[in-house]
């Protein structure tokens, strides 16, 4: 469904070129859930933004259902079937939760359907549907609304950047259930995460290191290696 071919993104820093992404290539099949993990600054979020079209590639190609989307705008990629949940959700003065959810839905929404998405992420729809997306919402509430909005897109491919960030312990299991439910319905997901519980739902895991893909494989193979890397990092004091 999604194919990245030698995707690179580089910037100029103090007169020198620096790669944020370097020759990243992998494929995602329909119905697959891929977890991307790795150190801070390894290029994970940039990779997501490149797939969504928020950051342009410096070189390489991106194909979605065999269509070359490398030069497409963000909205065209969204219309084609890619949804994206921000790591840090955006606040809007005046816009309400309902406005965002109905905009996200492709078809004319019924209130019941909109409410279902909020319930999926553990929010009582009645309490939230008319809330403003401003400073009156906590970071965790906003994050869950962001995830609900992404599910509401009903997109072929969902991108989630650290969905667990800011989610309290009580809501965490609900989040895992929401992902599992989406998986059971045949959804395709790419999720950036550091959480072992979330990694547990992966079909495959991609490990990023210093702008490149350092490991990729089935979750059962990669997960133990990721765990041992993290143990080493802890011993070295990196984590």
């Amino acid at each position: 469904m999604l194919r990245l071919e030698n995707v690179s993104y580089k910037i100029e820093e103090n007169g020198k070129e620096r790669y944020i992404l370097k020759n990243v290539s992998f494929e995602v099949a329909k119905g697959e859930t891929i977890i991307i993990t790795g150190h801070n600054g390894s290029g994970k979020s940039t990779l997501m933004k490149v797939i969504m079209g928020i950051i342009p590639v410096s070189s390489g190609k991106i194909y979605f259902n065999d269509v070359d989307i490398t030069e497409m705008t963000i909205s065209d990629r969204a219309k084609l079937g890619i949804a994206y949940a921000f790591q840090t959700p955006v606040r809007f003065k005046g816009l309400k939760v309902n406005d965002l959810l109905t905009t996200a839905q492709k078809t004319n929404s019924k209130l019941m359907e909109v409410c279902n998405y909020l319930s999926k992420v553990g929010l009582c729809a009645r309490d939230y549907i008319n809330r403003e997306l401003d400073d009156s919402l906590s970071g965790g509430e906003l994050k869950r609304i962001e995830i609900a909005t992404t599910f509401a897109r009903g997109a072929e491919l969902n991108l989630f950047d650290e969905p667990e960030a800011g989610i309290d312990l009580w809501s965490f299991d609900g989040l895992i259930s929401a992902f599992n439910e989406n998986k059971d319905e045949g959804g395709t997901n790419i999720i950036i995460s550091h959480q072992e519980k979330i990694m547990g739902i992966a079909d495959r895991i991609v490990v990023m290191d210093n702008a490149e893909v350092s490991m990729i494989g089935n979750a059962t193979e990669i997960l133990p290696q990721v765990k041992s890397i993290r143990v080493c990092a802890k011993l070295k004091g990196d984590e």
Binding site: S75, V90, F92
Partner: protein
């Protein structure tokens, strides 16, 4: 009343037809219909340049509609409306002015509204201004003077969402003990329109409070200025906020002034002017909107 007039009436006062309660409709420089009720009396001034509105004490859940419509080019008027709101009443007052101008001459409406709120009176005052038609200037200069008695409350919602070439709003309020004033202003200007707002609130009584919030969007080459002055003369609370989105080649000026004349007065002023945040546009574009649609939704929400 023709289609243009009916549309203006709907736009400024949400009225599809003549309201059932107390009302006064002014059309093209003249009062055309007036209706009083048992508790709300509307008396046209002798010179034909306004009305006096008397609301009996303890009047609850009643409304007054006083829309002004100008559909002829070249009409310029100065109107005085005086509201006397009785003790412990709780009413809704809907005012507003719609100017339709397709002619060559300037049309203008200068409305001076004076509110006298007696002890414990509670008022929600809604005022909408709208200009339509591609003719000469459409000008509105509303002046609102508010005297608030003890424990009285006034919420003023004023909206000017486009089409008005020039407006200069002045609002003055004096608050007695425990009086509470809330003002919510919403303004959208485009092309080369000019909108100026000036607020002066004097918190005279102990435990009086005022909250003035202005949200505005200036597009194209329009100009907006916001001046606010809050004076605290007792133990009181005053908050003024000006939050504006600037676009294209527009200009916005915000001037805060707070003057504390009592050691127990708490006065706060906030003013923010900035363009639409890039991340807001990106978020909505990831939902499938194009940049223009995203911009419109953000503005609609901001001014809702």
């Amino acid at each position: 009343m023709g289609t243009i007039e009916k549309d203006l009436l709907l736009a400024v006062s949400d009225l599809h037809q003549i309201p059932s309660g107390a009302f006064s409709i002014r059309e093209n420089g003249k009062g055309v219909q007036v209706n009083s009720t048992e508790n709300i009396q509307i008396i046209p001034k002798g010179e034909g340049n306004g009305i006096d509105i008397y609301i009996k004490e303890n009047t609850k859940n009643e409304s007054v509609h006083i829309p002004v419509i100008i559909s002829k080019s070249g009409i310029e008027e100065l109107v005085y409306n005086d509201f006397y709101i009785g003790k412990n009443s709780d009413v809704l007052i809907v005012a507003g002015c719609g100017i339709h101008n397709t002619g060559d001459s300037k049309s203008s409406h200068d409305g001076i509204h004076r509110f006298h709120l007696e002890e414990g009176a509670k008022v929600r005052y809604v005022e909408k201004h709208i200009g339509v038609g591609s003719g000469a200037e459409k000008v509105m200069n509303p002046v609102t003077e508010i005297e608030m008695g003890e424990r009285s409350e006034l919420t003023m919602e004023t909206t000017q969402l486009g089409g008005v070439s020039y407006s200069e709003r002045e609002t003055f309020a004096t608050l007695e003990k425990q009086a509470k004033l809330v003002i919510k202003e919403k303004i959208l200007t485009s092309e080369n329109q000019v909108a100026k707002s000036k607020f002066r609130v004097e918190l005279v009584g102990k435990d009086s409070s005022a909250d003035v919030v202005s949200r505005s969007v200036a597009r194209d080459e329009s100009y907006q200025s916001f001046f606010s002055s809050v004076v605290g003369r007792a133990e009181c609370f005053g908050h003024v906020e000006c939050d504006a989105i600037i676009m294209d080649k527009a200009k916005i000026s915000a001037t805060p002034e707070i003057l504390a004349e009592d050691v127990d007065s708490k006065l706060v002023h906030e003013a923010v002017v900035g363009k639409i945040a890039g991340e807001q546009l990106i978020k909505l574009m990831t939902l499938g909107l194009c940049e223009k649609e995203a911009e419109e939704l953000i503005i609609k929400g901001f001014l809702s």
